[in-house]
């Protein structure tokens, strides 16, 4: 427990950044300096400073308000996506580890084939089917990242199912499924926490990449990715529009990466110092 006494610098910095992003996301539901969607052609492409702290975009919308609203979009999409992957992956992992035999072989062959497929590409393929909208993204990215969860949970289930404390649960007369959920699944918490932390980063990056490509959350709803895409034609006149949303994505990812490294050091001391 000595490790917990002092937060390492990277954890502190990561927590601060991620905390600020979550705070901005939550705050945007109650207050933003201006309405992030209100168009005001009288205030087009205003430079940062004055009434508009971070300037305005090509439709005269306040950049700061849009960045805050964008934080909210990124945060809730990644929360739902990661939850989806963890829940679906855990169910499949527990079931295959529990049933074993042919079900396990077939599901795992499919799982490994999906793992042998670039995540973003899988998401693009799925988006072609489900369509570009927030729920489509959550489904596509969620399914794309589920195989990693399945592999970890199944591995833990297989390694634990013959251990004494699992055996004693069976001897006590608990059903196999109860034993799995009550005693085996909690043992997946540590590796899953490590995975989930990095998954937040992947999803935020993938969501902004998809939005940047125009396959994500459709405008006028602001996301950091689609704000970057729409800033591109105005790069010469209003370079801050190309800089600010990207800075938000990069800072968030930096925070998550620092936090992820710290979480891994903490939960998996074997990997301490190893990145």
């Amino acid at each position: 427990m000595k490790r917990m006494k002092r937060l390492p610098l990277n954890a502190l910095l990561g927590l601060l950044i991620v905390g600020a992003v979550v705070l901005a996301a939550v705050a945007s539901h109650f207050w933003t300096p201006y309405d992030p969607l209100r168009i005001n052609f009288g205030a087009r492409l205003k430079l940062p400073g004055g009434a508009y702290l971070l300037g305005t975009d090509e439709f005269g919308r306040d950049e700061l308000s849009r960045l805050m609203a964008g934080a909210s979009t990124s945060v809730w999409i990644s929360l739902l996506t990661v939850t989806f992957s963890i829940v679906v992956g855990s169910i499949v992992g527990v079931l295959t580890g529990f049933l074993r035999g042919w079900t396990d072989r077939i599901v795992m062959a499919f799982n490994n084939a999906l793992l042998a497929f670039p995540g973003l590409l899988l998401a693009l393929g799925l988006l072609a089917v489900v369509g570009a909208n927030p729920y489509g993204i959550i489904l596509a990215l969620g399914l794309a990242y589920t195989p990693s969860v399945t592999r970890i949970v199944r591995g833990t289930v297989l390694s634990l199912r013959e251990k004494e404390f699992i055996e004693s649960s069976r001897v006590l007369g608990n059903s196999e499924l109860y034993t799995m959920v009550r005693h085996v699944l909690p043992n997946c918490t540590a590796p899953l926490t490590v995975l989930a932390t990095s998954m937040f980063g992947w999803v935020i990056l993938a969501e902004s990449a998809l939005s940047f490509l125009g396959l994500g959350v459709p405008p006028p709803a602001p996301t950091w990715g689609n704000m970057l895409a729409s800033a591109r034609p105005f790069m010469a006149q209003a370079s801050y529009l190309s800089i600010l949303p990207g800075l938000c994505i990069a800072l968030t990812l930096l925070g998550i990466n620092l936090l992820g490294d710290a979480v891994r050091d903490w939960l998996d001391p074997r990997m301490k110092g190893v990145q």
Binding site: A109, A113, L121, G125, L127, I243
Partner: protein, 314 residues
Amino acid sequence: MFRFAAARIAMAIPTLLIVAVAVFVLIRLIPGDPAQLLLGDLATPASLADLRARLGLDRSLPAQFGIWFGHVLQGDLGTSINSGQDVLSLVADRFLVSGRIVLVAVALAAMVAVPAGMIAAWKQNRAPDLLLVGSATLLVSIPTFWLGLLLLLLFGLKLGWLPVVGYVGIAEDWKNGLLYLVLPVLTLFLHEIGVLMRMARASTLEVLRLDYITHARAKGLSERAVLMRHAFKNAFGPTWTLIGLVLGNLLGGIAVVETVFTIPGLGRLLVDAIFARDYPVIQGCLLFVAVVYVVVNLVIDLCYPLFDPRVAVE
């Protein structure tokens, strides 16, 4: 060695088959008549009937897959709804553009990142390590499409050294063609340095902690000999594997960079096809990239015994 190669190749075949099934099923999940989807809204009843017969759409789903897979094996991926071009040649042309950028960027990044990561591990928790790890973490946190925009802003708009939009093929005009490739390659290069350096550092750290390194040092070998002869060679393995994954992942992820620099590559082709609902092209791109990904990782694995003979023995 031969058995290792044969086993590794045999492992890739089921993966490819499952990928083919997945790509086939994906298009069948879309509601509507597959023939109509594949030929577009402007198709004539005659051509629709022709395609239905050709794809065996009146038969069972497994039979349909068999027919489709037979076409795929013969290199027939259909024709694009939008351009009417043969999908395979379209995809292969665009792949050459993307593949060149990805390959050059990753090769250059590996040359910088692998030694840097090893040095960082050697100097763990000291100034050079903190500096290198700090910059690597910063580099992986910057999304490629933003990095690309920043470089474009600096070198294209502010300094005016490099062209901002457009693309010229190297084959048509190699001098200008190269100029257009500088920024996209630089973008991916910088990003991948971060990814590979973190991996190289991690695997070197793991090796440096092993007993045989302590033994080598205890024997009185110079630090240089310990590192060069014993540590680095073993530490390279995981990074080498990661290079394969990075190459494949970039083929999926390069779409954003191609969008920033308006490069007609494979990623852009896929995204445009998704917009246009050009299903034969979508199917072709997904299948092609998946095959390239599996083959690249296969080649990477087959090269592994060259610097770590233990793998082939196991």
